[in-house]
């Protein structure tokens, strides 16, 4: 997807008051732009983001168990 189209998607999410989603999309798009890309595979990037988030939650769960919770 062209970067401009991805930005339009983020803007549409912001218009729907889905600010968190729009902010995250903007962050992913900004990373691609910083690499000099003019296209982005949005779903690949967001799948990687979800993988990171899954690991963060799993780490928090494991830490809670380690505390005896």
């Amino acid at each position: 997807m062209k970067i401009e189209k991805a930005k339009a998607l983020a803007a549409s999410q912001r218009e729907k008051c889905k600010t968190d989603v729009a902010d995250k999309l903007d962050a992913v798009i900004a990373e691609a732009e910083a690499r000099g890309a003019d296209e982005i595979d949005l779903l690949d990037a967001l799948a990687a983001e979800d993988d990171d988030a899954r690991q963060e939650l799993q780490d928090a769960i494991d830490a809670a168990h380690a505390r005896g919770e």
């Binding site: 998607l9 999410q13 963060e56 780490d59």
Partner: protein, 130 residues
């Protein structure tokens, strides 16, 4: 009349077989507005549509997980609730991965299911937050 029909059919086939511009033959992200024609254009339109439909759902999945992690670390939800949220997000993710390559109707169906799972996860998290 028969010759005319054959000529029209030949022209239609030729239009469908127009090659994409150089350098874009394997791109999954081009859109029909870039001058491509025929089957190539339809295929890439479908991929872009999938990205537009699924990207907010992928984003929401990650946000749900990060919110649950933050609340668990802050002692605002218990570990049981966090594990339930993780399991629901995993289920949503599996459907999202399937939706990426699914035909349009199936993709819509999967997207609806993902939305329902994510809403349930958010509700669970709100009810569990102290």
């Amino acid at each position: 009349m028969r010759l005319l029909l054959i000529a029209v059919a030949a022209l239609m086939i030729a239009a469908c077989q127009t090659a994409p511009p150089a350098g874009e033959a394997n791109s999954l992200t081009a859109t029909p507005s870039n001058g491509t024609k025929g089957f190539y254009g339809y295929a890439t339109l479908g991929n872009t549509a999938a990205e537009l439909e699924l990207a907010p759902l992928f984003t929401t999945n990650a946000l749900i997980r990060r919110t649950a992690a933050r609340r668990l670390r802050g002692g605002r939800i218990d570990v049981g609730a966090a594990e339930q949220v993780q399991a629901m997000a995993d289920r949503a993710r599996a459907l999202l991965d399937e939706a990426r390559t699914a035909p349009k109707d199936r993709r819509h169906e999967l997207a609806r299911s993902v939305g329902e799972i994510q809403q349930s996860a958010l509700t669970l998290m709100e009810r569990s937050t102290r």
